[in-house]
C-alpha cells in the first residue's frame, strides 16, 4: 500500500512579531512528529486543547509548511512551491470553524467553488454539488445564504464543500463539534461511505472519544509530540494514562471500568455498547457470584 501521508521529524514554530514585523520570539507547536498513513486508512488524532492537532492538520494541505523536517502528501513534499496545487488537490480540509471556510454567498455556489477551482467541467460540478449536499442532508438549503444558517448547518455545508472536491484524503478538524447526535452519526456514516466507495483516506481530529472506536489507528498528541499510538482497543484500555493527557474513554468504557471496580469480571478495552451488554448478560445468565473477581 502507498503512503498517503508521511511526516519525518516534523517541527513547527509559530513566530511572534512586533509591529514592524520583526520576529521577536517563537513558540513550538509541533515537536518532532513522525506519522505514517497508508492509502485508505482511517486515522484519528486526539489530544488536549493546544496540543498541536490543528497545527498538524494545516501541514497536510500546505497551509503551513514545516519549520524543520518534512511532510509528504501522496508522495509530494509540501515544502516545494510547485507542488502546492497537487498537495491541495490530494488533501481536502474541513476547518475547525466553518466560518473560516465558507466563502460563497449562496450555499450551492460555496460548495461548487472547490471543484470549479480544480477545473472540473460545469456539468460535473453541479452533479457533485448536488450529491455532496445530499450526503450531508443540506440539499434543501442549496439556495440559502451560508451566513444565515445555524452553526451545525454551516458545518455540514463546509463538509459538503470538501466532499465535492473528491480529494484522495480528507482531513477533518473537529467536524462534528457543533452537530446534534443524529448529525454526528450521519457525518461519520458519510465518511465511512467515502472510504468504502472511493477509498478515501480519512484523518479525523475530535474530542468525542466515541467517534474513533472504528479507526484503524489512533495517535494521541501532547505538547506537540505524539505520545501514544495504537488501535482503539489498545489506546482505550489505558484509562489512567489517557486521563493524564486530559483525555477520556468512551462512556461505555467508563461504565465497564466502573463495573469492574465494583467486582464484575469484565475484560479491559470494551468499546461498544453491544460488547458490554453481552458481557453483562453472560454474567447474569450464570446467575451467581462466580463471575466476580473482587
Amino acid at each position: 500500500m502507498m503512503d498517503m501521508i508521511q511526516t519525518e521529524k516534523l517541527i513547527f514554530e509559530y513566530e511572534k512579531r512586533d509591529e514592524d514585523g520583526n520576529v521577536i520570539g517563537t513558540s513550538r507547536a509541533i515537536d518532532g512528529v513522525d506519522i505514517d498513513v497508508k492509502e485508505g486508512q482511517f486515522i484519528a488524532v486526539l489530544g488536549h486543547n493546544g496540543s498541536g492537532k490543528s497545527t498538524f492538520a494545516k501541514h497536510l494541505n500546505a497551509i503551513l509548511v514545516p519549520t524543520d523536517g518534512t511532510v509528504w502528501v501522496d508522495g509530494r513534499d509540501t515544502k516545494e512551491p510547485e507542488e502546492l496545487w497537487n498537495v491541495r488537490q490530494s488533501a481536502g480540509m474541513v476547518f475547525q470553524n466553518p466560518d473560516n471556510q465558507i466563502i460563497g454567498t449562496v450555499v450551492e455556489e460555496d460548495v461548487g467553488f472547490g471543484p470549479e477551482n480544480l477545473g472540473v467541467p460545469t456539468d460535473e460540478i453541479w452533479q457533485r454539488v448536488e450529491e455532496s449536499l445530499k450526503a450531508v442532508g443540506m440539499l434543501s438549503y442549496r439556495h440559502h445564504s451560508p451566513n444565515k444558517l445555524s452553526g451545525g448547518q454551516k458545518q455540514r455545508v463546509a463538509i459538503a464543500g470538501v466532499v465535492a472536491m473528491e480529494p484522495k484524503c480528507i482531513v477533518l478538524d473537529e467536524p462534528t463539534a457543533m452537530l446534534d447526535p443524529v448529525g454526528r452519526k450521519e457525518v461519520l456514516k458519510t465518511v465511512q461511505r467515502l472510504r468504502e466507495e472511493k477509498k478515501v483516506t480519512v484523518i479525523l481530529i475530535t474530542h468525542y472519544m466515541e467517534e474513533v472506536v472504528d479507526a484503524d489507528k489512533i495517535y494521541v498528541m501532547d505538547h506537540g509530540k505524539v505520545v501514544m499510538e495504537g488501535t482503539p482497543r489498545e489506546i482505550f484500555s489505558q484509562v489512567e494514562k489517557l486521563k493524564q493527557y486530559r483525555l477520556d474513554v468512551p462512556q461505555v468504557t467508563i461504565l465497564a471500568d466502573e463495573l469492574k471496580k465494583r467486582g464484575l469480571g469484565i475484560p479491559a478495552g470494551i468499546l461498544r455498547k453491544e460488547e458490554l451488554a453481552e458481557c453483562i448478560s453472560s454474567q447474569y445468565t450464570h446467575g451467581n457470584r462466580t463471575g466476580m473477581d473482587g
Binding site: 451545525g152 457543533m178 446534534d180 461504565l255 464484575l264
Partner: protein
C-alpha cells in the same frame, strides 16, 4: 425571580424569500436558581431562543418577562438586563475582539462600570476558573487554539458575575478534561451562588449529568420540558428529532431486552453501575446509608461525575479546578441521592 416567555415568536427576514419562522409560540418559565439544559437538532432554534434572554434579539411577537418585568416595555433598562444575564456565544470568535486575552476578559466588567482593579481581580479569578494558563493572558485571541479561545470567551462572561449564565454549546471544542472541569466549575458556581444556568448542548451525556430540567426544541417549538429521566424516556421520539438518549440509557434498554430486570430510566454512568449491580443481585447491603457511601467512593474513583480523584496535571489551574471538582462531585451525588429516593 425568573425568565418567563409568553407566546413568543421570532421570524428571521420577514416578508422575503428567506423568511424563517425560527421560534413558534414559545411559552416557558425558567425559575431563578435552576440548572436548565436546552437540546435540539441543528437549526431547531436554540441559539435564537437564548439570544432573547438578554435582549440581543427582540421577539417578533410575544412577551418576555425578566423578574416579572416585560423587557419589551418602553423604558425598560436593557443595560441592566445585559449585566445580569451573561451570554457565551456558540462561536467564541464572535465574542473575542480585544488586543489580548486579559483586556478581553476585562471588557465586560469594565462595561459594568467597575474600577480597573476590580476588573482585573475578576478577570484573573475567571481565567483561573476556566483553566487558561497565565502565559496566554497577554496573547492575542487569534494566537489561541480553538479550545483556548473557548475558555477565554467563557471567562469574559464569568468575570461579569452574571445572575443568569447562558452558555451556547460551551464545551464544543474542549478536550474531555476541560469539558468536565468547566462544567464542574459552572455547577459549583450554580450551587454556591444560586446562579441560574442555561446550558445549550449537543452532548446528551453532559446534559443528563448536570441539568435539573431539559427543554427540547424541535423545528422552533418546545417539544418537551421536563426532568431528564422523563425526557430521555422518549428516546425514540428524540431520535426522530435529531437527538438521542445518553449512551448508558441505550445499554440499559439492551440489557432489559436480554431479560435483565434493570431500570431503563437511568441516564448517568454511576446510576447505571449501581443499577446493573443491583439487578445482578450483587448489592453489598440493603442499608440505604451504606449504598450511599459506596456510591461516593465509586465517584471519587473517577466515575462519570467529576474526575474527583484524577491526578493533578500541574497546570496553574489545578487548585482552582480541584475545588470545583470536589464540589462538582458533591452536586452530582446529591442529585443521585435525590433520584434514588
Amino acid at each position: 425571580m425568573s425568565i418567563r416567555l409568553e407566546h413568543l415568536n421570532y421570524i428571521y427576514s420577514p416578508n422575503t424569500a428567506y423568511e424563517k419562522h425560527a421560534l413558534k409560540d414559545i411559552c416557558l418559565e425558567i425559575p431563578a436558581g435552576e440548572f436548565v439544559g436546552v437540546i435540539g437538532h441543528t437549526g431547531s432554534g436554540k441559539s435564537t431562543l437564548i439570544q432573547h434572554f438578554n435582549g440581543l434579539i427582540k421577539a417578533t411577537d410575544g412577551k418576555l418577562f425578566y423578574n416579572g418585568e416585560n423587557i419589551y416595555e418602553p423604558g425598560y433598562n436593557m443595560k441592566n438586563l445585559r449585566n445580569e444575564v451573561g451570554l457565551v456565544f456558540q462561536y467564541p470568535e464572535h465574542q473575542l475582539f480585544e488586543i489580548d486575552v486579559m483586556s478581553d476578559v476585562c471588557f465586560g466588567p469594565k462595561n459594568q462600570g467597575l474600577s480597573p482593579e476590580e476588573c482585573e481581580k475578576r478577570a484573573l479569578e475567571a481565567l483561573r476558573l476556566v483553566g487558561l494558563k497565565e502565559k496566554y493572558y497577554k496573547a492575542s485571541p487569534f494566537e489561541l487554539s480553538g479550545g483556548q479561545k473557548r475558555r477565554a470567551a467563557i471567562a469574559g462572561v464569568l468575570a461579569m458575575r452574571p445572575k443568569v449564565l447562558v452558555l451556547d454549546e460551551p464545551t464544543a471544542g474542549l478536550d474531555p478534561k476541560g469539558r468536565d472541569d468547566i462544567l464542574d466549575q459552572v455547577a459549583y458556581l450554580h450551587k454556591q451562588t444560586g446562579m441560574t444556568v442555561i446550558l445549550v448542548s449537543h452532548s446528551m451525556e453532559d446534559i443528563a449529568r448536570y441539568a435539573d430540567r431539559i427543554i427540547v426544541m424541535n423545528h422552533g417549538e418546545v417539544m418537551y420540558n421536563d426532568r431528564p429521566k422523563n425526557v430521555f424516556a422518549h428516546y425514540r421520539e428524540l431520535e426522530k428529532a435529531g437527538l438521542a438518549a445518553p449512551q448508558v440509557t441505550y445499554i440499559m434498554h439492551d440489557l432489559k431486552e436480554r431479560g435483565i430486570p434493570v431500570d431503563i430510566g437511568v441516564t448517568t454512568v454511576s446510576e447505571a453501575a449501581d443499577e446493573i449491580m443491583r439487578a445482578l443481585g450483587t448489592e453489598i447491603s440493603e442499608n440505604e446509608d451504606m449504598t450511599g457511601d459506596g456510591m461516593l467512593d465509586a465517584d471519587a474513583m473517577g466515575g462519570d461525575t467529576s474526575d474527583a480523584g484524577a491526578t493533578g496535571d500541574g497546570t496553574p489551574d489545578a487548585d482552582a479546578a480541584a475545588v470545583g471538582r470536589a464540589s462538582g462531585a458533591d452536586t452530582a451525588d446529591s442529585k443521585n441521592m435525590e433520584k434514588k429516593r
